[in-house]
């Protein structure tokens, strides 16, 4: 019992007095750089106030699909039809690393505001599309092993 306690405390002392200070000396960049280096590739990026505001606005979406029914772009743009507009919200909410799959659809949608007037819950669809498109090229929007656009 005493021997295992000694070993545990010795290991903690090694980590605190030697390993961690040496690691701090060798580190490059600030905290955000290191965070993004570790997690950005998985799409886990810090949430800024704009993201939070867009997330709150998009949370009014109930997935009813009325925006898709009345979408005039869908018959002409295969990616818009295939993705489904409210699927873009879910893709973003799940992981921004998957957002590049929606690039073509978002680019087609951004100039059109036709569906917003039909949303029963008042989701600001145009504003969300613009924000999602701006995030497609941002850090964390591309995971290793994924190619943008699928």
């Amino acid at each position: 019992m005493a021997a295992s306690r000694f070993r545990a405390l010795s290991y903690l002392a090694y980590r605190a007095l030697l390993a961690h200070p040496l690691k701090r000396v060798r580190q490059r960049g600030d905290g955000l750089d290191r965070f993004l280096a570790s997690y950005g590739g998985s799409g886990l990026v810090p949430t800024d106030p704009d993201d939070r505001a867009i997330g709150e606005a998009a949370s009014a979406c109930i997935g009813c699909g009325l925006c898709e029914v009345r979408c005039e772009l869908a018959p002409a743009v295969p990616t818009v039809r295939a993705l489904g507009l409210h699927a873009a919200f879910r893709l973003y909410g799940k992981s921004s690393a998957e957002l590049p799959y929606a690039r073509e659809a978002l680019q087609a949608c951004v100039a059109c505001e036709g569906c917003e007037q039909d949303c029963p819950t008042g989701v600001p669809i145009s504003r969300i599309v613009r924000h999602l498109l701006s995030r497609v090229g941002a850090p964390g929007a591309q995971a290793p092993g994924y190619a943008a656009g699928g």
Partner: protein, 419 residues
């Protein structure tokens, strides 16, 4: 629905009517059947036991649920059948006339929905009137509707007097671009010249012996003008019906389109845009809708509940347009003082139990005038209709559209008479 019914009812009394709205509302999400007053004493698993007429069921419901809008109306609830007939008469191309008894319409999951009114595309599938074999058809390879699931579920009702369901597959929509088509795309494809007739011929070839009615997925056209159901039935040689629908709902879209067309035909001016009013605004004051400024002597508030934004929760339950008090229920006690209670205390752990939070809304008197916190009408010419009125769970208790139609008609007539 409530707002449109109020507008049409007021026009029926020769009033000049302006309907202001941010968006069409939740009617396009409806299943296609209109429930008004389910028989509270009929067992859920035995829908055919529900034999009570609409008016009698509404009276029974009002007696057992004192917080329900039907109870608040008092003797005015007797206008329910008249209101349903008014709605059907306003939309004859979509709604079948009231049958004077409940209708039993199949759902896409093999259950049965009880309705007071149904669309013309559904009444042939009323399970209480089909005698013989009910052919349940799906589109081969299309995952949106499973005929075997539906037939299997409906088979349970055969011993209660329902028809014998038989599942069949139709080789329709086999084109690559339609194999994964959404409901509204299938409905649009069936409206094309010759498409419904081709579907009817394929259906005729696939019908089992003794088929009395064919039940199809709820995609029989986006508009009544397409006459998809009639064209398929003519080619198939049997009556054809569709089930009620989940979202996205083609019957709901069809109903919304018919309502919009009826508003135009009736001379109701529709103004679209974000609707605003000064806090404390009352009839006669200015209302802002988009870029328009409007004044009217009578108002009917039909802004819906949570979906439409008529009731919101920002720290507490609010009616955001006019600042009317919202009544909530906690542990069986109701009052406007409970609107600030946490959402968790306004819900019950049992998921299938009635949830008080979902029944929150404004209180009204017998004339459908919203009440202040002290229980007096806020204004003699301010009325409320539909889901903004509390006391019922719009989507769950089977009375949503019935309340919308009844209160819409009554509020519209009262608003017109009060001018």
């Amino acid at each position: 629905m409530a707002g449109v019914m109020a507008a049409l009812a007021a026009r029926d009394r020769a009033a000049r009517v302006v309907l202001v709205r941010r968006a069409p509302g939740a009617t396009a999400l409806s299943s296609g059947a209109i429930g008004a007053a389910p028989d509270a004493w009929a067992a859920p698993g035995e829908p055919f036991a529900s034999r009570l007429g609409t008016a009698a069921a509404a009276r029974r419901l009002a007696a057992s649920r004192p917080e329900h809008p039907y109870a608040a109306l008092g003797s005015a609830v007797e206008a329910l059948e008249e209101s349903l007939a008014f709605a059907a008469a306003q939309l004859p191309e979509v709604l079948a006339p009231p049958a004077g008894r409940p209708l039993f319409i199949a759902t896409p999951y093999g259950a049965v929905a009880t309705a007071a009114l149904a669309q013309r595309t559904m009444v042939a599938g009323d399970l209480a009137s089909v005698r013989g074999v009910l052919a349940v058809a799906s589109f081969r390879g299309h995952l949106g509707f499973d005929a075997r699931l539906v037939a299997g579920g409906l088979a349970a009702y055969q011993s209660m007097g329902g028809p014998r369901p038989v599942a069949i597959d139709l080789d329709l929509f086999m084109r690559a671009d339609l194999g994964v088509a959404r409901p509204h795309e299938l409905a649009g494809a069936l409206e094309a010249p010759g498409a419904a007739e081709e579907a009817g011929r394929i259906l005729r070839a696939a019908l089992p012996a003794g088929a009395a009615v064919a039940l199809l997925p709820p995609v029989l056209g986006l508009t009544a003008a397409g006459r998809v159901m009639e064209r398929i039935a003519d080619a198939a040689g049997v009556p054809v019906a569709e089930t009620v629908s989940d979202v996205p709902s083609v019957p709901g879209l069809r109903l919304q389109a018919a309502l919009d067309a009826r508003l135009l035909a009736a001379g109701v001016e529709t103004v679209s845009g974000v609707v605003r009013a000064e806090r404390g605004a009352r009839p006669g004051d200015t209302v802002f809708a988009g870029t328009r400024e409007l004044r009217a002597r009578s108002w009917v508030l039909a802004t819906g509940r949570f979906v439409g934004g008529g009731i919101v929760r920002r720290g507490q339950l609010l009616e955001p347009l006019l600042g009317l008090p919202v009544q909530a229920t906690e542990a069986g006690v109701s009052g406007v003082h409970l609107a600030a209670r946490p959402a968790a205390s306004l819900t019950l752990r049992e998921r299938h139990a009635p949830q008080p939070l979902l029944a929150a809304g404004v209180r009204v008197d017998r004339q459908l005038r919203p009440l202040s916190a002290s229980g007096t009408p806020v204004h003699p010419r301010l009325f409320a209709a539909g889901a903004v009125i509390g006391g019922h769970e719009v989507a769950a208790d089977g009375t949503g559209l019935g309340v919308a139609i009844l209160t819409g008609c009554l509020a519209g007539w009262s608003a017109a008479d009060a001018i």
